[in-house]
Amino acid sequence: MTAPAPTLPVLGRLRERVGRLAELVATPLVPADYVDLVDPLRSGADLRGRVVEVVPETRDAATIVIRPGRGWKPHTPGQYVRVGVDVDGVRQWRAYSLTSEHARPDGCVAVTVKAIPDGKVSNYLVRRARPGLVVQLDQAAGDFVLPAVRPSKVLFVTAGSGITPVMGMIRNAVDELDDVVLVHSAPTADDVIFAAELRALAADGRIRLVEKHTDVDGMLGLDDLAGLVPDLAERQTWACGPAGLLDLLEAHWAERGLADRMHTERFRPTVLVTGEGGAVSFSRTGTVVEADGATPLLDAGEEAGVLMPSGCRMGICFGCVVPLRSGAVRDLRDGHVTTAVEGDGVRIQTCISAAAGACDIEL
């Protein structure tokens, strides 16, 4: 006599109908454009996060605690997250290691940022970010993680902000690791990020902590390391720090046939060398053209047979805007240089831009 309780398919169809109706009402926008105004962190929206706390760590580093949108997938400690921050009106993307415990009760995640000299985003996050700030997020990524079966002996070698991914690992797995050695180099004792927590863990005997402060001990070198950690050949090693240090370590481990025991995480992206002209790659069509610093990319591309959108050809109509995947271009009208690395979401006008180094146009 009773009808079956509403089953999922019925609810699903209802939701579909409501969604369709919402689309008809929102056109030419999409419903998300309206809902974003009130609930930007809802599930199904573009992934964003809201800063809930900014915790100073050292004089130039701070932990940014973020409540991620409800679409956030739990991360593996050691991974990083790409964060999109609007600084001075422009959206900038940077990658930061997640330093938080894996599944915090409050559902938040944290990144720890060190302000580098002339760093636009790092300085903004450390010095100007306030609770309530909404940032864009990508899902966590990276394979700088501990294996599921924990190694019996672990060595972490870090310098400066390189401590951040390792801190994520230590906070989550220190109870599962029997033998952890952390060799950390920082400019001074006060510059050691997470100093109190690390020293407490060391005092409790849960890790062996070796701090090297450059102002008294000099830069960390391979000899120091070998002396400090005689059994480093037996340890799975995770290293994160400046490129120079990582190059040294990778080379040394490779020399001794231990390359598979060394895992590195590099922070600094490829340095963009800007100059006059360069190789222009049209990534979709696979064409590469050498162009000088005075030739608009539009002309260079057309000459090479690439189908380029265009309009006024004088910079006013924005009919030639295409993505610059990576590289550097110069505005021929005023000399301003625009640079991009993959994921930055930079778009340029090809009719008034010339190559200022190698560049990759998505056409």
Binding site: V25, D88, G89
Partner: protein
């Protein structure tokens, strides 16, 4: 008007080539200042405007669900009209100009923005950004000079069709959203066989698809959602669209039609330098003076001159550079065309009426009456046959 090159007193005769290039440099310097100073406050401005407009729209549509009640109808229609005007002018027009591309926000970008209007954004960007802004006020190139249905310059050839142009103008104003779509389709060009057939077909399809979506929302879905208030809601939406059409049409008329705005001969822009392009923009536009609220509702097109000089600078910065632009006008001996809204609109409409008749109609008519010898003689003298102006204008 009359093409600048044909005027008895040429307003730029006193400027040497060197003067014009120096003017260009000074204008470039102002542009550079604004470019490097774009920042947080500007980004916050456009985000705020978008936030306010969308909330106003939702609230107004919500109120209209009860539009059977007159206060709800009035409040909802007013709110929706303001929301549509903001969306059209301060937001849509400016975002599609690329004014906010520098923010690198994919949702507020000229390449992805679609506006609440019958004309699809890519078609509008072509006829507006590319054609109108490049060939501003050039007779025979800038079709905004009359939109193909009106004669707004003495140097545009007269045709009996234009006798009724005040009516065409009024109809266009009421249906402006569709007028723009038809204009962007370049129907006249297609009729003359000068537009690619496949492209025209594809664009027509796109236009109808867009109109269908807009109409479904405003005249079907929203009314139906209002239940018993269906008919008043439909009327409210139609009214809001009409108000938006009339307002935007009026503002746009004030941009290039009031007295004091120059037009240019086609040949005069061959080999045009950057300085000369700037100069043409300065003389080919007119401003509207008024309150900040008025500026906002015109999408800052009340600063038409500043907008034409710098179509890609954020609209909220036009007011700040306006005094410096006016100073340049003074120093270079040029006239800055500006006036309050009623004056500018009146001037534009007066021109529409005046030029619906052939040039010099009064003089010729009285002369014809005096010296009349027969109907065909009158017809000749009154100019109902081809006028002797050499410049042909493409519709």
């Amino acid at each position: 008007m009359t093409a600048l090159q044909k005027k008895q007193h040429n307003p730029i005769a006193h400027l040497t080539d060197a003067d014009i290039e120096e003017l260009g440099r000074e204008l470039d310097a102002i542009r550079e200042e604004i470019i490097v100073s774009r920042g947080e406050n500007d980004a916050a401005y456009i985000r705020k405007i978008i936030d306010v407009q969308r909330k106003l729209e939702i609230a107004s549509r919500g109120v209209l669900l009860f539009s059977l009640f007159p206060p709800a109808w009035i409040a909802g229609t007013t709110g929706l009209s303001i929301s549509k005007i903001l969306e059209n002018m301060e937001i849509g027009h400016n975002v599609m100009h690329g004014q906010w591309d520098w923010m690198r926000d994919p949702k507020i970008h000229s390449t992805s923005w679609e506006w609440d209007n019958a004309s699809p954004s890519d078609m509008w960007k072509h006829s507006h950004n590319q054609i109108h802004h490049t060939f501003t006020n050039v007779l025979g190139r800038d079709n905004d000079l009359g939109y193909g249905i009106m004669r707004v310059d003495e140097d545009q050839r007269w045709h009996p069709f234009y006798l009724a142009q005040p009516l065409w103008n009024f109809l266009n104003a009421c249906l402006f959203e569709y007028g723009i779509a038809a204009y962007d389709l370049e129907i006249g060009k297609y009729a003359k066989g000068r537009k690619d057939k496949a492209l025209f077909k594809a664009q027509t399809k796109a236009v109808f698809a867009k109109i269908k979506k807009q109409a479904t929302r405003d005249y079907l879905v929203h009314p139906l959602l209002s239940g018993p208030s269906a008919v008043p809601t439909l009327a409210a939406n139609a009214t809001a669209n009409l108000i938006r059409n009339l307002w935007t049409h009026s503002v746009i008329m004030c941009g290039h039609f009031p007295e004091g705005v120059e037009t240019f001969e086609k040949s005069s822009i061959e080999g045009e330098t950057r300085g000369e392009w700037y100069l043409r923009q300065m003389l080919g536009a007119a401003n509207i003076s008024g309150s900040d609220a008025m500026h906002l509702m015109t999408g800052n097109l009340s600063f038409q001159i500043e907008h034409h000089l710098y179509p890609d600078l954020p609209s909220n910065r036009y007011k700040e550079i306006s005094p410096r632009i006016q100073e340049l006008f003074e120093r270079y001996g040029l006239t800055y065309a500006v006036g309050p809204l009623p004056q500018q609109l009146g001037s534009a409409w007066k021109k529409v009426f005046r030029l619906s008749l052939p040039n010099d109609f009064r003089r010729k008519a009285s002369a014809a009456v005096v010296a009349s010898a027969g109907p065909s003689a009158i017809a000749r003298k009154v100019g109902l046959t081809s006028s002797p102006v050499p410049e042909r204008v493409a519709a």
